[in-house]
Amino acid sequence: MEKIKEEIRQIAREALTGKKVDIILAWEKGPLWYDSYPAFFTKEEEVDSLTWDSFCINNLSKYLLEETMADKKVGVFVKGCDALAFNQMMQDNRIRRDNVVVYGLPCPGMIDPDKVRAKRLNRGLTEVKQSGDELIFVTKDGEITVPAHEVYYDKCLYCHYPNPVVYDQLIGEKVAAETALDRSERFSQVEALEALSAEERFAYWDSQFSKCMRCFACRNVCPACSCERCTFDDDDLDILGKAREDSEDQFFHLIRAYHVVGRCIDCGECSRVCPQDIPLEKLNRKLIKDINALYGEYQAGLDPSTKAPLVTYQLEDADSFTAGEKGGKGT
């Protein structure tokens, strides 16, 4: 990744000096070991602080919304999942493609700081180096080597698209797309919940939803939640109040999940940013699982020229409510 980082910096510098773009959107190292946060670069000399390491989890595509709206030319770096997000926003007409130069970064996987802490690898940590399938944690007391999949985010272990599906320029070599875990496994938690009784399920979700403080971080980070004006923000609509009230939490969560149905790329960003650790992916994946079962396998963000499952239909579609008989003519 070190080598790629230099390459990225070079590309960023050239793009800025050559006036190919007005802004470069990439990552910058923060004060803490796990901090590689999104950063905007507009001057060549700023690029020295640009970084690319195993903590660049933040998806930059979402930032293209406002930027492109301002008619600026933006150069953006995207990992595999960010590219799906980019495509999804393209499909939703929320990015102006002409205004964006996409630099694709094949992604080896990103490190989950919680897993590092659980292994106590963060003590005196100065640097993390990647070598093949292993990660070397350089600490004050020496180097510790661990298999990479032990500290990568779960979502990276299921990831099918580590190589960006959209780019103008690809940087570095493509990585192998086989997953550490079986991809169908990502539905196992959904299935476990489905196996419970209605009462148990309600108790589970009620306890989760009532933790929500409606900070809307999950919405703000989501590439599928890109409406110009969110229905939850519109006071005139009287959709959602401000009360600490369980039914409002439930309402918010069901609508949030439902609004991204068929457009959720399963990037896991919403659950990652949730300060209350609400497992939002269990809602999203339930909907993905049902779409796959009812209307055929679908991966949002793969191809922006297709239609999302809920804005199209087939005459002979199945449904979940008329017990087998499809009803209607000619079916």
Binding site: V190, L193, E194, A198, E199, E200, R201, F202, A203, Y204, W205, D206, T231, I239, A243, E245, D246, S247, E248, Q250, F251, L254, I255, A257, Y258, V261, L283, K286, L287, D290, I291, L294, Y295, P309, L310, V311, Y313, Q314, L315, D317, A318, D319, S320, F321, T322, K326, G327, G328, K329, G330, T331
Partner: protein
């Protein structure tokens, strides 16, 4: 549960009159309701019908709001697929509410409380059947507490 609360619950169950909200499409199911009425078929007065231009006019908010503000059951009724007055509306209804139905079940709402069905203008009988069917099941389940706004009073 305290004895007093328990007694109140027993009393409540005895007096339980389910409140059902039925979103009916103007062209088919609402006319079906009309026919049920003019044919003097019995369907219960606890069903509150809300007329919508098309079953696809109903969105997930409507369903959740109904539960939030007092409904014990919610029904969406539209024209049979292929018969939509606007050609394609109910095809979208079919996809949207297939997913919502499963989602509601997934978060623990009893399945019998939410029903989607196709009822044409000539199906007065079916209209009465569907309404009675849901009412009966909801009656058995008792008052709905899930998704309910705690500030709501009947």
């Amino acid at each position: 549960m305290s004895v007093i609360a328990n007694n109140a619950a027993v009393k409540n169950a005895q007096a339980f009159e389910p409140l059902i909200v039925a979103f009916c499409c103007n062209w088919c199911s609402y006319a079906g309701a009309d026919l049920a009425g003019t044919s003097r078929l019995n369907y219960p007065a606890n069903i509150k019908i809300i007329r919508v231009p098309c079953s696809c006019r109903v969105n997930a908010n409507f369903v959740l709001r109904a539960f939030q503000r007092g409904a014990d059951g919610v029904i969406i009724a539209g024209c049979h697929p292929g018969d939509c007055h606007y050609m394609t509306g109910n095809y979208y209804t079919r996809r949207r509410f297939s997913l919502l139905k499963n989602l509601l079940a997934y978060v623990g709402i009893e399945e019998a409380r939410f029903k989607v069905d196709w009822i044409s203008a000539s199906e007065g009988n079916k209209f009465a059947d569907v309404m009675n069917g849901v009412l009966e099941k909801v009656h058995k389940l008792g008052p709905n507490r899930k998704l309910r706004d705690s500030r709501w009073r009947r």
